[in-house]
């Protein structure tokens, strides 16, 4: 009897271990089965790919569509793609990831061997993955028609190394500017500084300083002239632009940071001076760009950062009654020389090396499809289209396209195309925080940023797979 009990418990223990092991491998077995069944039904092999994107525009073509969301476009594009795709029974799983979680998510998934097949994002934020050898070149899906329709400047943004490998398929571009609340300007008696509705107003730095001063004096309590933030790396391109406002070129010819000179220090000192004078929201060192944007939409800030997508989304939210209505307009980032500081984010898709040839093939085909389909590329109107054909077709409906185009001569490349840009971004905001809290002088902050930043670039250059 006792022996029987013993035998039973021995068997039970074994069963438990086997069940545990089976539990670990159960998922993959299920997936295989469902894929096989799917293949049998349609006659084509079923292939599932993952597309991740950071929030861009809402809706398929317009944020005013019912149930418009950040993934609407890609769900629609995936459906259209699957219907006409004859190679495989393709299914695209679309996932929206937060911009400030992008690198964490990608690094975890890359190291775990489960990167997404496609990532749709601003190119500047993804360049490092090309340098790390995690992306597949897309030269084979870029045809002559696309090369002719998309300006060479955009192709330069997405082409790397001596072999001219294209790692991103440009879809749209997203110019960064300032946005201002014209109602608050009027209330402060600044009517003459307000530009047209379809104009990107350019102020000189003196005019801008005067605007900030007047707003500070005239605005009610708990509202501030300008948004300033340095909590993390989000929205840091505007901080980089402010650091160029006294004429610094930022990078030298060798691709190293060259901010530590008279011009760079003057710019940092200007940022500190407007902060100390109370021309900005308080606590810039612990305020994020998201906070600043929310404050602008709540009319607590008169001037804030924006890009074409944020601007359009803000307008759509006002129209839909999701946020307070006010007269929102665009302005350039001012500089001492009087020439505006302009930059743009080229937005496009990249394909990750997953090690699965079939998935890579489908991913490339899908990228080519939504980046060149005559109907789908029209969605790029939510920012600014990179395709001349789309701009030509829509320019009458969207007069701001011409205003953005007029800024082209003042564009600067904020990444300098240096390797290690993602890590470089982590170096700037602690220095700005130190400057705002008075722990470092502007001179010291600029000096430390340059030395730490150049060390990051140097290390990344040594490790880059792109020669």
């Amino acid at each position: 009897m006792f022996n029987n009990c013993k035998r039973m418990s021995t068997i039970a223990s074994f069963l438990l271990v086997i069940a545990l092991l089976a539990g670990c491998s159960g998922k993959s077995a299920d997936t295989d089965t469902s894929q096989n069944e799917g293949s049998k039904a349609s006659g084509k092999k079923k292939v599932e790919i993952a597309l991740w994107l950071t929030p861009q525009w809402k809706g398929v073509f317009d944020a005013t569509e019912p149930d418009a969301d950040y993934d609407s476009f890609f769900k629609y594009a995936a459906d259209k793609f699957a219907k006409q795709y004859d190679k495989y029974d393709a299914k695209v799983n679309v996932q929206v990831v937060a911009g400030d979680q992008r690198d964490e998510l990608l690094n975890v998934n890359l190291n775990g061997g489960t990167p997404p097949d496609i990532f749709f994002e601003s190119v500047f934020a993804m360049g490092d993955y090309a340098h790390r050898g995690a992306l597949v070149p897309l030269n084979d899906i870029v045809d002559d028609a696309a090369k002719q329709d998309i300006d060479q400047g955009y192709w330069d943004n997405v082409t790397y190394g001596k072999d001219k490998e294209i790692y991103f398929y440009p879809f749209s571009h997203n110019p960064g500017t300032l946005a201002y609340n014209a109602d608050m300007f009027r209330a402060a008696g600044l009517e003459k500084e307000i530009g047209g509705e379809n104009e990107i107003k350019t102020w000189t730095l003196d005019e801008y300083n005067n605007i900030l001063k007047t707003l500070k004096e005239k605005l009610p309590k708990n509202t501030y002239p300008m948004g300033l933030y340095a909590l993390n790396n989000q929205g840091d391109t505007w901080n980089l632009a402010y650091l160029r406002s006294f004429g610094s070129t930022f990078f030298d010819n060798n691709g190293s940071i060259a901010l530590d000179d008279d011009k760079g220090v003057k710019a940092a000192a200007w940022m500190k001076s407007i902060y100390d004078a109370g021309y900005t929201n308080p606590g810039a060192e612990s305020v994020s760009s998201n906070d600043a944007n929310a404050m602008f939409q709540n009319q607590q800030l008169a001037i804030s950062f924006t890009n074409s997508i944020l601007f359009n989304n803000a307008k759509a939210d006002m129209k839909a009654g999701k946020s307070q209505k006010f007269d929102i307009r665009l302005a350039n980032i001012p500089s001492e020389s009087g020439n505006p500081l302009a930059f743009t984010y080229v937005v496009g898709a990249s394909v990750f090396k997953t090690g699965d040839a079939v998935k890579t093939e489908v991913a490339k085909d899908f990228v080519k499809f939504f980046s060149s389909d005559p109907e789908l590329v029209k969605a790029s109107k939510n920012s600014v289209p990179v395709r001349s054909s789309v701009v030509k077709e829509l320019k009458d409906q969207y007069p701001l396209f011409a205003a953005y185009d007029a800024n082209a001569p003042n564009m600067f490349s904020f990444t300098g195309n240096v390797p290690g840009y993602s890590e470089l971004r982590q170096v700037l905001y602690p220095e700005l925080q130190a400057m705002y809290v008075g722990e470092k002088t502007p001179e010291q902050a600029v000096k430390d940023y340059q030395s730490k930043g150049n060390a990051v670039i140097q290390k990344a250059r040594e490790n880059s797979v792109i020669k």
Binding site: S13, N107, N111, G283, S286, A292, S422, E423, P430
Partner: protein
């Protein structure tokens, strides 16, 4: 030979019973530790690993932010553990012998924050402390206290993080202390009462010495928990201002997931493991000795 077989037969069931736990322990605890030690000696680039010896450790010891993270972690451990043990002892010794319903109410009140996710707690504090539109900053401005940014001042940010973590942790310690104090034999208190001992004397000379094993246990688990302090830093300060609140765990996270320096991050992990081990061994020895 026969005897050995007999011993094996007698014990096999026991081993089989602990085998699932042992397998999981080896798979999820021992293997990651060994893999972490291995990775700390390599430079990892996407799918390529290069042996670099102790280079990652040398990089760490040349980085002032790493030293700052060690100092900050030690400050957090010391203050949070002292506050937690001190406050939990104070509350528990004040209420343990009161009406059972009252004791349950106190226990429940302090335990609520323990049940709420640290992420949620940090977000709520973040809303309250936001310098631009947070409630506390708003109140301060209304009272004409000029700019009020507790998270942006390196002298106030550490106490804020310490307070938020302490407030979330202390409920657990109070529960353990009350349970332990209720178990102290009543005749000791009666004897003290007969001898005319004051309540303060009873607490310091009877209660606190008799709950020493609980104190050691609470100290150990809190030290280990606070050494890994991360969520509140990530959600509330992002390590700022200017790395004033970077802890070792946050530094590890940044290297592993933001900078993709897996080798350096593993080296931090190994150092943290050694520190935790060194801190725990004497405490565990003391605890087992008591028993």
């Amino acid at each position: 030979m026969k005897l050995r077989n007999q011993i094996w037969k007698d014990n096999v069931t026991g081993y089989l019973f602990i085998m699932p736990q042992l397998l999981l322990f080896l798979l999820f605890i021992v293997y990651p530790i060994l893999e972490g030690i291995r990775l700390s000696l390599y430079k990892v680039q996407y799918k390529q690993e290069t042996f670099v010896g102790f280079d990652n450790y040398i990089t760490l010891f040349h980085d002032p932010v790493f030293f700052k993270s060690i100092v900050n972690t030690v400050v957090f451990v010391v203050f949070i553990v002292i506050l937690t043990v001190g406050f939990a002892l104070f509350v528990s010794s004040a209420v343990f012998d009161k009406n059972a319903k009252y004791v349950s109410f106190i226990r429940g009140s302090y335990y609520i924050p323990v049940m709420v996710s640290m992420v949620v707690m940090s977000m709520v504090w973040g809303f309250l402390l936001n310098p631009a539109n947070g409630l506390i900053s708003y109140g301060a401005r209304e009272m004409h206290l000029s700019t009020f940014n507790l998270l942006g001042n390196k002298n106030t940010v550490l106490p804020v993080v310490i307070f938020v973590t302490f407030a979330t942790n202390v409920g657990q310690a109070i529960i353990l202390y009350i349970a332990s104090m209720i178990g102290v034999p009543k005749d000791l208190f009666e004897a003290a009462e007969v001898d005319g001992a004051s309540r303060l004397r009873v607490i310091f000379q009877i209660l606190i010495p008799l709950v020493k094993p609980t104190t050691i246990y609470i100290t150990i688990i809190n030290i280990i928990a606070v050494l890994k302090i991360f969520v509140v830093i990530q959600m509330l300060t992002g390590g700022g201002p200017n790395n004033a609140t970077v802890t070792m765990m946050y530094y590890l996270y940044n290297n592993a997931f933001k900078y993709n320096q897996l080798g350096v991050a593993s080296a931090v992990g190994v150092i943290m493991f050694i520190i935790t081990l060194l801190l725990s061994v004497p405490q565990l020895r003391a605890m087992f000795k008591e028993k």
